[in-house]
């Protein structure tokens, strides 16, 4: 006789155990790690604020994205240029004022980088040390998720959930901010599953692989990692794009937490206990 059959299904308003400790530990480790990785990564980008496709790429070659500053008319402007289209980003990208009021011509501003003063070497020390935390953490968490059934039970998307009508229903419910209540709040909705699976099996492994692909040492013993992405500079571009994919996830994640009830959500990720939202009256 299983435990679930013995106890009645929980009702809205009850406290239930939601996140197990590996999920909570990994969540908060990643919260810190990814922030450090992003900000130190932007510092590294500042050393050469241009992105290319292919194996090679330097100043003489065509960049598909670049951040810089240029004289225009009587003044000067910061800009971002993507595929030949230029946008004025004065004050934020390419040309900005630092905390001491000095004009700087780096790509990302001081408040977005680690360290806040330009230092490629120190940015790399942060980035490459925390890369181990990210990679080892992901490895353990993926292994645990598979072995302990987290993937099968919580993230696996059933055939019924893949049905367009179900997906559409879930999108509409989310757009109307009608979140699941009662027993149905015990499980992730299909959009949540897609988002978490996308990060766990998509964006995070991509960040690590494209990071390794940029290492000349790794490229020698695992050349297929670089080749899969179409070369070192392509890997660098994909690394940059996936980083912004993670930023996008983070923004969405925070918005959803705020909308769904920040106290309850944060408590569940700290203590594991979650209060099931009460059923809506029909």
């Amino acid at each position: 006789m299983s435990e679930a059959a013995a106890s009645p299904a929980p009702q809205g308003g009850e406290l239930v155990r939601r996140h197990r400790w590996p999920t909570r530990l990994w969540h908060w480790t990643n919260a810190v790690t990814l922030l450090v990785m992003l900000m130190s990564g932007l510092m590294i980008f500042n050393a050469h604020p241009r992105l290319y496709w292919g194996e090679y790429g330097a100043n003489y070659d065509n960049a598909w994205l670049k951040v810089g500053s240029a004289r225009s008319g009587g003044g000067e402007q910061g800009y971002i240029e993507i595929a030949g289209h230029r946008w004025d980003t004065t004050g934020t990208l390419g040309l900005w004022t630092d905390a001491d009021g000095k004009v700087q011509r780096r790509a990302f501003p001081y408040w977005a980088t680690i360290p806040s003063r330009y230092s490629l070497a120190i940015g790399r020390i942060w980035h490459l040390a925390f890369a181990w935390v990210l990679a080892v953490g992901l490895l353990f968490y993926l292994a645990w998720s598979l072995i302990a059934g987290h993937v099968r039970r919580d993230i696996h998307i059933t055939r019924a959930e893949w049905r367009p009508s179900h997906l559409w229903h879930d999108i509409r419910e989310h757009a109307r901010l009608r979140f699941p209540t009662g027993v149905s709040a015990l499980h992730y909705s299909v959009l949540q599953k897609l988002a978490y699976a996308g990060v766990l099996f998509g964006l995070l492994p991509m960040m690590i692989l494209t990071g390794l692909a940029m290492s000349p040492g790794t490229d020698a013993w695992a050349p297929f990692v670089t080749e899969v992405f179409g070369g070192r500079q392509s890997a660098r571009s994909v690394h940059f794009l996936c980083a912004w994919g993670l930023v996008g996830f983070f923004v969405l994640h925070i918005v959803m937490v705020l909308l769904a009830g920040p106290f309850n959500e944060v408590r569940s990720m700290v203590t594991g206990w979650y209060r099931l939202p009460r059923e809506r009256r029909p």
């Binding site: 922030l35 050393a47 194996e55 003489y60 934020t92 408040w111 806040s116 490629l120 013993w221 050349p223």
Partner: protein, 253 residues
């Protein structure tokens, strides 16, 4: 009175606010020697991982069609030393490389002698620590061959490359261990893209240590010294950028 706040302004203010709280924290944390040493010890992990998983792996080599149309030169692009300028004017006809330190037979080799040794030619990708890459063709004798000629003493653990250039007023130098020194692709290149090395790329001789970042590839190499320890050589950290910029000595990542 209406208070108008643009969305962009709000985002910027929010990010700046969060940043101004967080950043001094990160900067201060890094000033803590224990914290900094912990982060810096990541370098050992990188080196050991490489030595375990790919100690003798070869860097990828490319075809001629894969080469960069123009190869960017970085760091010192010219050398002011009068003796060097004279050698440059003479086409390095009277120039010679010295190989000494912890060796049984110190060597002095003219550029012609280096050209007469068995050669290795390779088209490889040069990866700068800044993030850019360029693919070029390099030619020269294997460093391992010279080391066999000079017969390293057993206590020799590193090779130090003393360069003819000053960078920001200080002598440029670099160092590698014996794994990289005897690696088949580690050569002393006197030719690049089929022509004698140009000054901007390190004439007359540049170290190619293909599995590491650009700053390890010492240009204008004048003297090679086999040593037991890097302590006491310039800043003691094994290279110009290691001494002056907190860059990692193992630059395979």
């Amino acid at each position: 009175m209406t208070l108008t706040v643009s969305r962009r302004g709000l985002i910027r203010a929010g990010a700046a606010g969060a940043g101004s709280l967080l950043l001094p924290g990160c900067d201060r944390l890094f000033d803590n020697p224990t914290f900094r040493e912990t982060l810096e010890s990541g370098e050992n992990l990188h080196r050991v991982t490489q030595r375990v998983l790919g100690r003798n792996a070869l860097a990828r080599e490319y075809r001629e069609v894969d080469m960069s149309p123009a190869f960017r030169a970085n760091g010192s692009r010219e050398v002011t030393d009068p003796a060097y300028r004279q050698h440059l004017a003479q086409g390095f006809a009277n120039w010679s490389l010295m190989l000494g330190g912890l060796v049984e037979h110190p060597l002095t080799l003219s550029l012609q002698a280096l050209r007469d040794l068995p050669q290795r030619r390779q088209i490889t990708r040069h990866d700068c620590v800044e993030g850019w890459s360029a693919i070029g063709q390099w030619q020269g004798p294997r460093l391992g061959l010279l080391l066999d000629m000079a017969r390293l003493r057993p206590e020799a653990r590193y090779l130090v490359f003393h360069c003819a250039d000053l960078y920001h007023g200080q002598p440029y130098y670099e160092s590698i261990d014996m794994v990289d020194a005897f690696h088949p692709q580690t050569i002393l290149a006197w030719a690049m893209n089929g022509k004698p090395l140009e000054e901007a790329h390190g004439a007359p001789l540049r170290l190619r240590v293909e599995r590491q970042l650009g700053y390890k590839h010492a240009k204008f190499v004048a003297r090679i010294e086999a040593v037991a320890s890097l302590e006491g050589i310039h800043g003691g950290k094994g290279g110009y950028w290691e001494d002056n910029g907190a860059y990692a000595w193992y630059a395979g990542i």
